[in-house]
Amino acid sequence: MSTLVTLDPLVLAPALAPALGVVLVLVGDALGPRRAGGRWALPVAAVVLVVGAVLAARGSFGAEAEPLRSLCLPAPDGACLWTAGPRTSSLQAGILLAAAAALALLHDGRPRPRDGAVTAALLLAATTGGVAVAAARDLGTWVVALELATVPVVALVALRGTRGAAHAGLSLLVTSLVSFALLVLGVALWLTATGDATFSSATVATAWEDPQRRAVLVLAVTVLVSGVGFKLSLVPFHAWTPQAYTGADLGTALYLAAASKLSALAALLAPVAAFAGAGLDAPAVVTVLAVPAVASLLLGTVVALRQDDPLRLLAWSTIAQAGWVLVPLTALDGAGMRASVAYVLVYAAATAVAFAALGRIGAGAGARTLEGHRGLLRRDPLAAGPLALALLVLAGLPPGVVGLVVKILALGPPVAAGVWPVTAAGILAVVVGIAVYLRWFAVLLGGPPDRPAPGEQAASADGPGTARRSGRSTTAVLVLGTAVLALTSALPHLLLGGLG
């Protein structure tokens, strides 16, 4: 092999597509500055994302048993900087589609984004980072891609320009800086412990043999989990989440809730996979994963129970669901990682549908309380029906069967591995979680209020066109997301088949 590294553009396409999209949008904006407020950029970016998603899905449903590899180095054989198995490909497809859904909501959001081209470029850049981190197997790419996935989002939040958005952006920026520092520290410790610049099972196993290197490795994992935990909104790194959700506009919040979580889990899977592959009995690592999982499950669910603002409720629900994503990982095996990916994909789809429904209802301007949604199923079935299904999926109740399936899948590996505290916390969270989501569900289903709630008055003041104000792209997200949830509820093996 004469060249230094192999390069397969088709394999790299999921990351190359949004990156090229950034260039395209920026060049377009340079040629016609501020043309129509840059609104043309959003559909272009969405098309780019969907193309990328299709290319990524090729990997998850492709017939190849071998993972897609590229950027392979000649020296240590088999060391490829880009390795995407079916699991990774599914995550990448999820990230790209979630970003596309966020674009759809941004497109329909009111007030419109100040500068469509900038918004699109930022979102595409963050998505590039998210997709790249999923396939990254070396420390350098991993940390850079993870930062690329984070920093543009801070700008996206702050770009809205309101006071709340500025506060949220600031909070996000500060925590992300701390998290960046932690990640760099963690990567350095990992390199020190293993002497290897990639996340590989072999070197982890060697390092684990030596007690002193083992201590450093445990510390490295601790710091890495902390750094990624910020992105996943794990307790105690969650404080920014409710603020950012309520401060940012709906599309950005959707991006934070869905695409960001997917890429964060993808990032976390790299070190976890190294441990799982080594087949080590590592109680310390399990503890480091289990403590935030349990804390997120309990605190997130319990606080969500008290929320009255739909966005805040979704924020705390995100925190609880992040705990759920971590639950199967505590088993430190392949089945756990598969269950975790399945869970996060279902969560992302359901959350995207919930945000899209809020977009259609007009959460930004109108009803900011649950009471404003009373009887919505009769007033606006196209918004409330998908929202109800999404809530049931999140709660894990039929007919949202897929939510139940992934919850059972998620509890399976810790039970098999005997991690009982996590299992117990999971069961508690299921019980309380049902109350959280059914509270909202009951309001949707309920009869008309005795007297109009304040939110509803505001909504009716906007005139009869309120419900129609959200445009076609939000409706498309609603319909497609509901179709995905319904289809996977009817045939759950479709989802599991895409995870290898």
Partner: protein
């Protein structure tokens, strides 16, 4: 002919009947035509004379349990199906007149059809699951029929009482069915009989095959003799409840609150006789278990005598017939309790057959007489048979048969029962002697109250009761039943029931016993009610069923209600406290969490992050070291 037709036709009629219940004329046509066709079908089935034919049903396999859902046909079953269909037809025809002015006739007719379907299902069932289905549907239908006049509080209470008492006994029945089916790994009656007939067979075969006794015992755990005794006793408990035997006897007399045609149906051919059919179909297993025989034997011996005495002293003639049913069903069951294995259940089933004829005749006749006289009390009914010559003939034939006078249908079957009981007593395995003594005493008392009934109903009164507007169909129905009551004994010649010979000795003895009974009843002469002469003081107690209703309330209902109160208290105050506490705890935790996150400064977030890292690192390092 497919026996499913016999079950399906009345069931279909019930569904149709509910659909057209608003239109009396249509409901009448549906009920009568379906009953007629069912009767025709049953006759054809009997005439075709299939011996031991099994008609496959929609078989199911539930794990290791096979549920074939077969119907079985043999001459005995066909004969019983025929008599059930006949009684149902008579009842349907009769109630077109009797309930002509009733605003809920449609529901009544549909319920009777459903009842017929259920009873035919039990009679023809070759599968315990089907038996259970028919059994439960009958229980529900009897509730509906007894409570038909639901505007009356007494009718509602009687219906509820019947339902509760039989349901409590059904616990035993269901457990027995489950246990028997589990041991046989099949619900088919043939398989169940085969598996439980010789419970030791499996062990014997294993020991002969060369395995050690211990392994053979574990391998053959399921059917053993003790378990069989327990299951059969449970089965008998269910049968005692449905057949109103001691200690469940009290519901049947109260069930007289229902319309008279319903009483005729429940008493004559269906509900109370169903237990006899079920035990008869499992007779080979039942006969091999002395425990179950004794259990049944003691209960029916007490019941038949007690009920006969109570019947004699009733001030209400309809209730007298009810108690006589209890007594007569005990006679049927006594034949099953004592009959030697070789004799088979034929005598008991023959008595069921004949009882169906004469008891339906008596009920339908007394219904007519009561309408003519305006009440069912003995004093009111006095002389009411004069309303029609058919009525007089009906009472004569019916009471002769009930008394057990030789050669009429009831007498013939009763002699067979006594003969079988004697065989059982001689064999000395089982309650034969006890049952035989009780049977002889009961025969005398039965003759006495039959005489009483006939005397009261046909007494000479100055003013003949007149009832206008009786359609010709009613006398025709009664006449047919009278004819069958007189000559129905010829059924023995068809060979449908496997019964032995009856010697002249038994004929003479039973004549003697009946003579004694009649003689005692006639002590006060022909013009006075024998109950007033002999049992004036006992009548109030007998009318109250010896206060058993009160006993049920004191001994069963009250303790159960107390226990329920205690359980409810524990549930609401102790268990629920934890549940409510959990809810409150979640809310308080949520409130605390919200308070914690009220401050929204970025620095707080950073503090949390750094604190979290320190905690995680500490935990990780501690857990590792």
């Amino acid at each position: 002919m497919n026996p499913w037709l016999l079950v399906g036709l009345p069931a279909l009629a019930a569904a149709l009947g509910v659909a057209v219940r608003r239109d009396d004329r249509l409901a009448r046509v549906v009920a009568v035509v379906a009953a007629g066709l069912t009767g025709l079908g049953a006759a054809v089935l009997w005439a075709l004379d299939d011996r031991g034919a099994i008609t496959g049903g929609p078989g199911l396999a539930a794990g290791g349990l096979s549920i074939p859902l077969d119907l079985a046909v043999d001459p005995t079953r066909s004969a019983m199906a025929a008599v059930v269909a006949l009684v149902v037809l008579a009842v349907q025809l009769y109630s077109t007149w009797y309930l002509a002015t009733d605003d809920r006739y449609g529901q009544f007719a549909a319920t009777v059809s459903l009842f017929a379907a259920a009873m035919l299902l039990v009679v023809l069932s070759g599968d315990l699951v089907l038996t259970l289905v028919g059994w439960e549907v009958m229980g529900w239908c009897s509730y509906l029929l007894i409570g038909h006049w639901s505007r009356r509080a007494t009718a509602r209470r009687a219906a509820l009482k019947a339902f509760l008492v039989t349901r409590v006994a059904d616990i035993g029945f269901v457990l027995a069915v489950v246990g028997l089916a589990a041991g046989a790994r099949s619900t088919s009656i043939a398989d169940v009989v085969g598996a439980w007939r010789r419970p030791g067979a499996c062990i014997d075969a294993a020991v002969e095959g060369g395995s050690a006794l211990g392994t053979a015992l574990t391998a053959c755990a399921a059917p053993d003799a003790n378990l069989r005794a327990v299951l059969l006793v449970l089965l008998v408990i269910g049968v005692l409840g449905k057949s109103a035997q001691v200690p469940f006897q009290d519901w049947l007399a109260d069930a007289m609150e229902g319309p008279t045609p319903a009483s005729a149906l429940i008493h004559a051919a269906t509900m109370v006789a169903a237990g006899t059919v079920v035990i008869g179909s499992l007779f080979e297993v039942f006969a091999a278990s002395p425990t179950a025989r004794w259990f049944l034997g003691v209960s029916v011996s007490v019941t038949m005598l007690l009920a006969a005495v109570l019947a004699f002293a009733q001030s209400d003639l309809k209730r007298m017939l009810a108690w006589s049913t209890v007594s007569q069903v005990a006679v049927m069951l006594s034949a099953l309790a004592t009959a030697p294995l070789a004799a088979g259940p034929g005598a008991g089933l023959l008595h069921l057959w004949s009882h169906a004829l004469f008891k339906s005749l008596l009920f339908l006749a007394i219904g007519w007489a009561a309408l003519a006289a305006g009440g069912t009390a003995a004093a009111t009914l006095r002389g009411s048979a004069a309303a029609s010559p058919v009525l007089r003939a009906a009472f004569l034939a019916g009471f002769l048969s009930l008394a057990g006078v030789p050669l009429v249908v009831g007498g013939l079957s009763k002699e067979h029962v006594i003969a079988v009981a004697y065989d059982g007593a001689v064999a000395a395995d089982g309650p034969g002697v006890l049952v035989l003594v009780s049977l002889v005493l009961t025969s005398a008392v039965t003759a006495a109250y039959s005489t009483r009934g006939y005397l009261v109903l046909t007494a000479h009164v100055r003013q003949r009761p007149v009832l206008a507007g009786v359609p010709p169909v009613v006398p025709v129905v009664l006449a047919v039943l009278v004819a069958l009551t007189v000559v129905g004994g010829l059924v023995v010649l068809t060979g449908a029931f496997a019964v032995g010979e009856v010697s002249v000795f038994w004929l003479v003895l039973s004549l003697l016993v009946v003579g004694v009974g009649v003689g005692v009843a006639l002590r006060g002469g022909f013009d006075r009610d024998p109950a007033e002469v002999l049992a004036r003081r006992f009548t109030p107690a007998a009318d109250a069923g010896l206060g058993v209703d009160l006993l049920y309330r004191r001994a069963v209902a009250r303790p159960v209600l107390r226990l329920a109160r205690v359980v409810a208290f524990v549930d609401t105050e102790v268990v629920d406290a934890y549940v409510r506490g959990a809810g409150t705890a979640a809310r308080v935790a949520g409130w605390a969490g919200t308070r914690l996150h009220r401050g929204q400064r970025p620095s707080a977030g950073v503090g949390l992050v750094l604190g979290g890292v320190v905690v995680l690192a500490a935990v990780g390092v501690l857990a590792w070291s």
